[in-house]
């Protein structure tokens, strides 16, 4: 064991502890706090893995937005009754079984050479002409239109995945919208009242939001040839929107506005239109013309950022009665 490994081991242990704590905390409140802490540890791990942009996005989503969502949900739930339940015997015995089987698996894997092969990325029977994936990415970078391998993979080599991911986010919002007709009117009133906001909080929000927008813009702009990209930028912008909304500085986001719906859809629409256009007028589905690749990718990223930011904000601070419309 080298000294280099120490932070990783500490972080991993911390992560497991937080996860355990969030699952088995005695009260709802403790569990939520530990979950937020869990998100922060994940962010640290991203930073440690050399992905500061993902660390920021994780902190914004995993700790920030999810924390707000959890707190809002907790307000709608009935007060929790003090639970002193004892876990039944089957629970403990299944836990024991799980531990034993995990240990057996672990010992088997550790004694097996396939583990050493894994992660090295080298397949046992690589033929002479097939290069490993990172090499292929490096070789194709010149034609990708961007300067950073992650962006090239996300928006060019595997653009189809990213297009579908945008749809996943959109679907999450559609799914959440289904739940609102069931919200009781009185509860809504409670959930939406913003208590008289303190001046200091307002001032801080006014200071923080532009900083977040700046960071988001930077991440988006940097995505072309460094760590960053639409999703991270969208998360930053959403965090800014949520802060402004919670302090009452931003008016309610209502689903009935066409502009808002357009903002939610535009990322996927533009992306899909590009795909269709390349199919009809170009060389095929998602084959960007080389000289246009950079411009197309930037355009898609900008619109995707907008969609991601608005969708995430709506998920967290959308107006229930408006969303259900």
């Amino acid at each position: 064991m080298t000294f280099e490994l120490m932070p990783d081991i500490i972080l991993s242990t911390l992560l497991l502890l937080m996860a355990w704590g969030a699952l088995y905390a005695p009260t709802r409140h403790d569990a939520m706090a530990l979950f937020v802490a869990f998100g922060l540890v994940v962010a640290l791990i991203w930073a440690r893995l050399g992905a500061p942009d993902l660390a920021l996005a994780e902190a914004a989503i995993g700790a920030g937005l999810t924390g707000v969502l959890l707190l809002q949900a907790a307000r709608l739930l009935p007060a929790e009754s003090a639970s002193t339940e004892h876990r039944p015997l089957w629970f403990r015995s299944s836990l024991l079984f799980l531990l034993v089987t995990t240990a057996m698996f672990a010992s088997m894997i550790l004694n097996n050479n396939s583990l050493q092969l894994a992660g090295s990325g080298i397949s046992a029977n690589v033929t002479a002409d097939s290069a490993s994936l990172p090499e292929m990415v490096a070789a194709a970078m010149g034609d990708s239109g961007v300067g950073h391998p992650v962006t090239a993979v996300l928006l060019n080599f595997r653009a189809w995945d990213t297009l579908l991911e945008l749809l996943v986010l959109l679907l999450a919002l559609t799914g959440v919208r289904q739940l609102y007709p069931g919200v009781n009117r009185n509860q809504q009133a409670v959930a939406n009242t913003i208590e008289q906001t303190w001046p200091l909080l307002l001032a801080w929000a006014r200071f923080l939001a532009p900083l977040l927008v700046l960071t988001g813009g930077y991440l988006l702009w940097r995505g072309a040839d460094g760590a960053g990209g639409a999703f991270q930028a969208g998360a930053m912008l959403a965090a800014a929107a949520v802060i402004l909304r919670l302090t009452g500085l931003l008016p309610g986001l209502s689903w009935s506005s066409l502009l808002l719906r357009l903002a939610v859809n535009i990322g996927a629409l533009v992306f899909l239109s590009v795909a269709l256009a390349t199919l009809m007028f170009g060389d095929g589905w998602l084959v960007y013309p080389v000289q246009w690749a950079g411009a197309l990718i930037v355009a898609i990223e900008v619109f995707a950022t907008l969609s991601i930011a608005v969708t995430l904000s709506l998920l967290v601070v959308g107006e229930p009665e408006e969303l259900s419309a």
């Binding site: 303190w198 200091l200 909080l201 801080w204 200071f207």
Partner: protein
Amino acid sequence: MSGLVVIVAWIFMIAGTVFFVTGALGLLRFPDVYSRLHAVTKTDTLGLGLLTLGLALKSGSPGTALLLFVIWLLVLASGAVNCQLLARYNLELEARAADTDELNRQGGNHDV
């Protein structure tokens, strides 16, 4: 010379860590919200300040030092604001609890 700077930097960083540990101890051991906030924010500010100072010295480049200083300022401001917000929230909670107590007592008197 540079050896000396590194040693000083390490001293700063260790001192900063010690402050963090003290803050954590205070958070665990102090009796009420205000004193806990006091412990956490004071030592955070100082601890982070010493850490960034140490790191800035170690990095040796003015640009990085400036960045670290800005980070420290941001955390400083956010710590101060959060402390103030938490304290105020707690104060309002206490006031509200006192009010309800008062009301209950009055209600009880009326019943009698």
